[in-house]
Amino acid sequence: MKSVVCILSIFLIALSCKKDGQIEPVETLTFVSLEAPVNFPEIQLNNSNPLSIEGIELGRKLYYDTILSSTGKSCSSCHLQTSSFTENSSNSQSHVNLIWNQYFLRNGQIEGTLEDAMMFEVESFFHTDISKLNQDPLYPKLFKKVFGKAEITSKEVAYALAQFLSTLISSNSKFDSYLKGQTMLNSSELNGLDIFLTERGDCFHCHSVGLMGDNSFHNIGLDLTFNSLNWGRYAVTMNEVDKGKFKTPSLRNVEFSGPYMHDGRFSSLEEVVEFYNSGVQVTAYTDPIMTKPGKEFGLQLSNQDKIDLVNFLKALSDTSFLNNTKFSKP
């Protein structure tokens, strides 16, 4: 009997050890889960940061609050919902379907979960002064409710932001309802789709159907030479093969997320398509998909093809996402 009790208590100790270091949420929270839309990868929820309505709300409040910075800026200063959470002058990256990201920033400098990315935003990018939050009349109560802790640290700020960002899911474009057989694309969009999916344009090999990105990095032949301004992934890995590679952006809501490319060199989708059509630079670093024989300097699309491809890209717009009041300033 004694030894059985012993084994049991060791087992219990082991179990309770597991919880160490995790934030114990308080019971009154309303937990929610996220479901992956059709054609999307499974969602890997972060067990150490269970999603709750209260946590998401807190993240949203923080996202729109200048209290996080010492420069009078909030996240939303450079990430505007109506522009798919981008902003023109800073050429920031859009926030669509970030929950599926493994790499953050264009060179993938941050690898991991949304929580990891938010730790970077709070600590290294914003250098958030956490004492301001702790002294605020409202925030300590809200944080206590979600994370069950009296004191706010940058971890809880990052976790709350991550909860909000993980809900920014866009999966309701015209193309999605076409895939579900609910809407027809018009003939121009259909030709654009054909270019997108076949050798004619071959866009889908990097902008995979579903996320419309591939969670990977490519050199698409924007430049002939490479220096610290356009090293891209190489700046992180120092691996020669990674020169000029950037993260493939999701094309969802791309109509609203200009200017385009890592340096914002193109201001319209027409310019982007013209680049793929005739502007690709062939270097040792250019992705093989971009330099097919006969097409090594571009796709040789007709004027109508180019219009159709742009029209298809616009069929990836999701106004229910851009106008969703759950994502807007509280």
Binding site: P41, S208, A284, P288, E296
Partner: protein, 252 residues
């Protein structure tokens, strides 16, 4: 009377404790024996794929390899599915692995996989497919992971998955062009059958499968990237040429 009974009860108590203690330590000793001496009930086999070009270990980038036609080339990406692994025992018994394994040269942990619960014995043949059989090669069949979704073959072209993505660059007069051998569509599946002479008796047995990328460029057809189409996905006949070349890409 009551007082007398107590010692015997506590004796019983200690007896149980001792039995539990001994059985636990005995089973620990037993299980540690499994790894060293005593033959276990089942064997497990770790298959590791070793990528080479002729005799050299594959290195991604720069352009440094030469194929049968004299093209100098590099490999930038290599992704494929290995499925339906079958091991045949000397007595004819067959071990079958249902799984579809995704291999990506850039992901070290995808370069080997473990087959469990193999009946111990001498095995004389290994068979497997590069690609996915027609029953399972259906869009959406595989778990929607990022990798599987990136391997999707367009629905408008029969759907299913890419069986192989072998991409790289080759030089013509020092200008680097791209090639992409993409195999897909159910009939492009490649079945391999390789003789083995391997006793599988213990846990963690190992088998190294050699994948020589230069084989995709030759036998039966010398594929010359300067002359032949380096991009094959849109042509069933080119897919078949590369497929035929691939039959000897794997060896032990």
């Amino acid at each position: 009377m009551k007082v007398e009974k107590k010692p015997s009860l506590s004796f019983l108590n200690w007896g149980i404790t001792a039995i539990i203690f001994f059985s636990i330590s005995f089973s620990i000793v037993l299980s540690s024996c499994e790894k060293t001496g005593v033959m276990p009930q089942f064997s497990s086999l770790k298959i590791s794929i070793h990528h080479v070009i002729d005799a050299e270990d594959l290195e991604l980038f720069p352009i440094q390899y030469m194929n049968e036609s004299g093209n100098t080339y590099s490999v930038t990406d290599l992704k494929y599915y290995v499925s339906s692994i079958k091991l045949t025992k000397q007595n004819g018994d067959i071990y079958f692995d249902q799984q579809i394994h995704y291999v990506d040269i850039k992901k070290t942990n995808s370069l080997s996989f473990v087959l469990d619960s193999i009946e111990p014995g001498k095995y004389i043949k290994i068979e497997f497919d590069l690609g996915i059989d027609s029953v399972r090669n259906q869009t959406g069949f595989l778990l929607n992971t990022v990798d599987n979704l990136n391997m999707a073959w367009p629905v408008s072209m029969e759907g299913g998955y890419h069986f192989l993505k072998f991409e790289g660059k080759y030089n013509i007069n020092s200008v680097p062009y791209g090639f992409a051998f993409h195999l897909g569509k159910s009939k492009a599946i490649i079945h391999y059958e390789i003789n083995l002479n391997k006793g599988l008796y213990y846990w963690n047995e190992e088998l190294i499968l050699k994948h020589d990328l230069n084989e995709w460029f030759k036998t039966p057809s010398n594929y010359n990237l300067e002359v032949d189409e380096p991009y094959i996905m849109n042509s069933d006949s080119l897919i078949n040429v590369i497929r035929q070349n691939g039959f000897d890409a794997f060896s032990l």
